[in-house]
């Protein structure tokens, strides 16, 4: 079970825990056929962390320096993560710590553009409230 996980579960690990799941099952006879369900569908749970707009969002594209891909949202996600990790090293975190944070904290990865070819854009929303310290850029810091 996962106590918490960021979108994408970047490192292959969330906060992995032994746990208990209490569930109720129901059955809709013929429902998969009736509703054309091929892969699981779900409703989100009713309890969610509250961050409002208190996020810092990082952008990633499918290019870096001279390297250019075509509409590759996986590369864009990777670039967004690398940008976020580079940024977090300003606040005392090692690369491995920051990479882990992106995998366990409730970050959001959004496919923000797959239509303006050749560049796919993925944005990474990092919640500010999980940190003890302020991490917004500032002239004073």
């Amino acid at each position: 079970m996962h106590f918490a996980e960021g979108d994408g579960e970047a490192t292959w690990n969330a906060i992995e825990m032994d746990g208990v799941t209490w569930l109720r099952v129901g059955l809709i006879k013929g429902g998969a056929t009736k509703y054309n369900v091929r892969t699981p569908i779900f409703q989100p749970g009713p309890i969610e962390p509250q961050f409002g707009n208190r996020y810092l969002a990082f952008t990633g594209f499918n290019f870096r320096s001279d390297e250019q891909a075509f509409n590759d949202s996986t590369m864009a996600a990777r670039e967004a993560m690398l940008q976020a990790i580079d940024y977090l090293t300003n606040f005392g975190y090692s690369g491995a710590q920051a990479y882990t944070l992106l995998s366990v904290a409730p970050i959001e990865l959004r496919i923000s553009g797959i239509t303006d070819v050749p560049n796919a854009c993925v944005t990474l929303y990092l919640p500010l409230d999980i940190f003890d310290q302020g991490i917004l850029p500032s002239e004073k810091a």
């Binding site: 292959w12 906060i15 825990m17 208990v20 998969a32």
Partner: protein, 235 residues
């Protein structure tokens, strides 16, 4: 004084009759030594541990994905030597009476809670996710959960992670036909995208299908059974 989370054998979920059938997990014991032995392979021949009626409830307890291989300490020896064929121990299968292919199984998650309160997040060499080429070294953070609100780790100070729990792995058993389709469909991608060490692990997963500890668990391609037999539904 810091709470002592690592006491082996301590479950935060009381061992009393909760009024619903329950697959128990003894904290600290690997799956194969539990009283209720689950599984970690999707396969139609894994016999159900329990059967419930539609509308029924069940309580499922399971070890973490590491099957209690990871230790609450500050080194990564356990990460480097982790036996990946043991990962993702699952509580089940649970048979739902009357369920068959074409039905929609509706699962309401009524509670998701930590058992021991100790969690882990690792970067595993050769496996380590989308940035494994940049972070190839083993890394481990140990997380303490006092309940269902926050997780904190001495290895990543200055953050509190709010709970957003989910069951991690939940699904229904494939039919023999579907299992063959999965394996055939994915086979080509392994050689293309995964490092040699990870490939070995992938193939070890497959090989486990051959020598699984359940006598009835046989490699789907060798069964000769007609495809499309009703799959057992699992949660």
């Amino acid at each position: 004084m810091a709470p002592r989370f690592s006491e082996s054998g301590v479950s935060r979920f009381d061992d009393r009759d909760m009024g619903a059938p329950r697959i128990r997990c003894e904290v600290g014991k690997r799956l194969s030594e539990q009283r209720d032995i689950g599984h970690n392979r999707w396969h139609p021949e894994v016999p159900p541990l329990i059967e419930i009626e539609p509308g029924g409830e069940v309580i499922l307890e399971a070890p973490g994905y590491d099957d209690y291989q990871l230790q609450d300490n500050d080194n990564t020896n356990d990460v480097s030597t982790m036996d990946l064929t043991r990962v993702h121990p699952l509580a089940g299968p649970v048979a739902v009476r009357g369920a068959e292919p074409g039905d929609l199984l509706v699962v309401d998650l009524l509670e998701l809670s930590p058992l021991s309160g100790v969690g882990y997040s690792c970067i595993i060499p050769e496996i380590g996710g989308i940035l494994r080429d940049i972070y190839p070294e083993a890394y481990k953070s140990v997380w303490y959960m006092r309940g269902n609100v926050y997780a904190e780790s001495r290895h990543i100070p200055g953050v509190r992670i709010p709970a957003l729990p989910h069951p991690g792995v939940i699904g229904v058993a494939p039919s023999h036909e579907m299992l063959i389709q999965w394996n055939d469909r994915e086979a080509a991608t392994w050689t293309l995208r995964i490092s040699p060490a990870a490939q070995e692990y992938t193939f070890r997963f497959l090989c486990q299908e051959l020598c699984s500890r359940w006598a009835t668990c046989i490699l789907p391609k060798a069964t000769g059974k007609p495809p499309g037999m009703p799959s057992r539904w699992m949660a």
